[in-house]
């Protein structure tokens, strides 16, 4: 049984996996009722919050899995990339447990976790495939040649896709989290109502732009500009106009992602695409990707929602695969803020 911890950003998560893919528990603090011993107001974005919840969350995970620490054969924790203070909480707790119980320990890259989450639900994903990680903090494209064999081909040059959704929702005062709200409102609007242009990405730019890279800040600015030009104080935007606006924004955001996906799949002749991260929940992206896959005879995979958002199950999976191969981390493994899993070529 593999015990895993994830605390790279806002979420604290603990999972227990019976390898290869039987999840016995997968708890995420924000979606779980936890009794915090000392209570009080805890800063939302603080490492302290991870510290408050990690022990009770770990104890609840053992109970949910119906096991004790005696049943655990290996421990994994996210070690990069993320906020150092936040990462250190999960990593230090995991290392201490492993050291105290004399268990093998492995540090896992968060992105590698996202790229592998799909294997918890599917055992037929072909290699090589295109792995797309789209979330509030990441927008990256990898060729996944096999387990632990990744090549980074492109990434966002500015905002992550999920960040663009959140910020557009904020711009229009639609609430938080922006992703699901924009998705819902966009379904009521006309995606062709307003034409936003796609960013021009040229390979030779001195600003380090690769041909598969994406950009969302121009689109965000275009939405801001459109609002400035059309939202006249004595005549606020109607609900219908907002629906059209977010539908058009979402349509363009999906186009931006699909452009890179289709270029990479074509250039590298890949048989499948795996989309993970929180934005993989977006219905327009799912539909565009699925339709495109059917049309081009490319298989498309989306892990279920609980495996798309930040979670420890994916960390447990990657950890279990490394441990099964005899790979472990040293006790002096430290948390690092950056750390892509492939090399940009």
């Amino acid at each position: 049984m593999i015990l895993a911890f994830e605390s790279s950003c806002d979420e604290t998560a603990v999972a227990i996996l019976a390898p290869p893919r039987q999840l016995r528990a997968s708890l995420v603090a924000s979606q779980h009722e936890i009794h915090i011993p000392f209570g009080g107001v805890v800063p939302e974005l603080a490492a302290r919050r991870h510290m408050e919840v990690i022990v009770p969350l770990y104890q609840d995970a053992l109970v949910e899995a119906g096991i004790t620490l005696d049943d655990v054969t290996g421990i994994a924790a996210t070690c990069k990339p993320g906020l150092i203070g936040a990462l250190l909480v999960g990593l230090s707790f995991a290392k201490s447990l492993a050291m105290g119980r004399n268990l093998p320990f492995i540090g896992v890259n968060h992105i590698e976790g996202h790229l592998n989450a799909v294997h918890l639900e599917h055992d037929d994903v072909p290699y090589p495939h295109l792995g797309v990680v789209v979330s509030g903090g990441h927008t990256e494209f990898y060729i996944v040649k096999g387990f632990a064999d990744y090549q980074l081909l492109g990434a966002t040059r500015d905002d992550a896709a999920g960040e663009a959704f959140d910020k557009v929702a904020k711009l229009l005062n639609l609430g938080y989290p922006g992703g699901p709200i924009v998705d819902k409102r966009a379904a009521l609007g006309n995606p062709k109502a307003i034409r936003f242009s796609l960013p021009k990405m040229s390979e030779s730019s001195k600003f380090g732009i690769g041909k598969y890279d994406v950009s969302f800040s121009g689109l965000k600015t275009a939405v801001a500009l459109w609002v400035k030009q059309n939202d006249i104080t004595d005549q606020p935007l109607s609900a219908d106009t907002i629906n059209d606006l977010v539908a058009s924004f979402q349509y363009t955001a999906v186009e931006i992602l699909m452009r890179s996906v289709s270029q990479i799949v074509t250039d590298h002749n890949l048989p499948a695409v795996v989309v993970s991260g929180g934005v993989a929940a977006n219905s327009a992206l799912r539909k565009a990707m699925t339709d495109w896959g059917i049309q081009h005879n490319v298989r498309t995979y989306f892990p279920s929602m609980k495996l798309c958002v930040d979670n420890a199950a994916m960390i447990a999976y990657v950890g279990s695969q490394y441990l099964a191969r005899g790979v472990t981390s040293n006790w002096d493994l430290n948390a690092t803020a950056s750390g892509a899993v492939g090399i940009l070529t």
């Binding site: 603080a46 906020l83 905002d159 939405v223």
Partner: protein, 136 residues
């Protein structure tokens, strides 16, 4: 003083002019609405100081990005930070007034946390798509 940018190149030029006046230990605070072009301005500063800006992305989610180079650039974003208590757990004082240049987006949210000598730059997007930079 106020400068106006009509094109992306104008923004990069204004950023480069500011960059030429920055030295290690300096802090720049950027304010402006969503979509005003704060991260793009940081891209321009980094390009001017490092010769490239390959690693520059929005730090909204990560809260802080470090761009290695001479001098190193610490790119902060306080957009998601909702309380002084949250901000104070980030340990950013380690990076301010040190060996690198700190640039803080949404720095106006917690002005008391910025060094006294911080350069404040406001970016505003106009209805015709041009941008005004004030405080340069």
């Amino acid at each position: 003083m106020k400068q106006t940018a009509t094109t992306l190149e104008d923004t990069y030029r204004i950023a480069a002019e500011l960059a030429a006046t920055l030295k290690p230990g300096d802090t720049v605070a950027l304010s402006g609405d969503l979509g005003a072009g704060k991260t793009t301005f940081v891209r321009g500063i980094t390009m001017a100081l490092h010769g490239h800006a390959k690693d520059v992305t929005s730090p909204t989610f990560t809260l802080m990005n470090i761009y290695e180079g001479t001098p190193p650039i610490y790119h902060f974003d306080w957009y998601r930070i909702d309380s002084l208590a949250s901000l104070q757990t980030l340990g950013m004082e380690e990076y301010l007034e040190g060996t690198g240049i700190a640039i803080v987006e949404w720095g106006e949210k917690f002005p008391q946390e910025l060094p006294a000598k911080t350069r404040h730059i406001r970016i505003s997007l106009n209805t015709d798509g041009t941008r005004h930079f004030s405080g340069i």
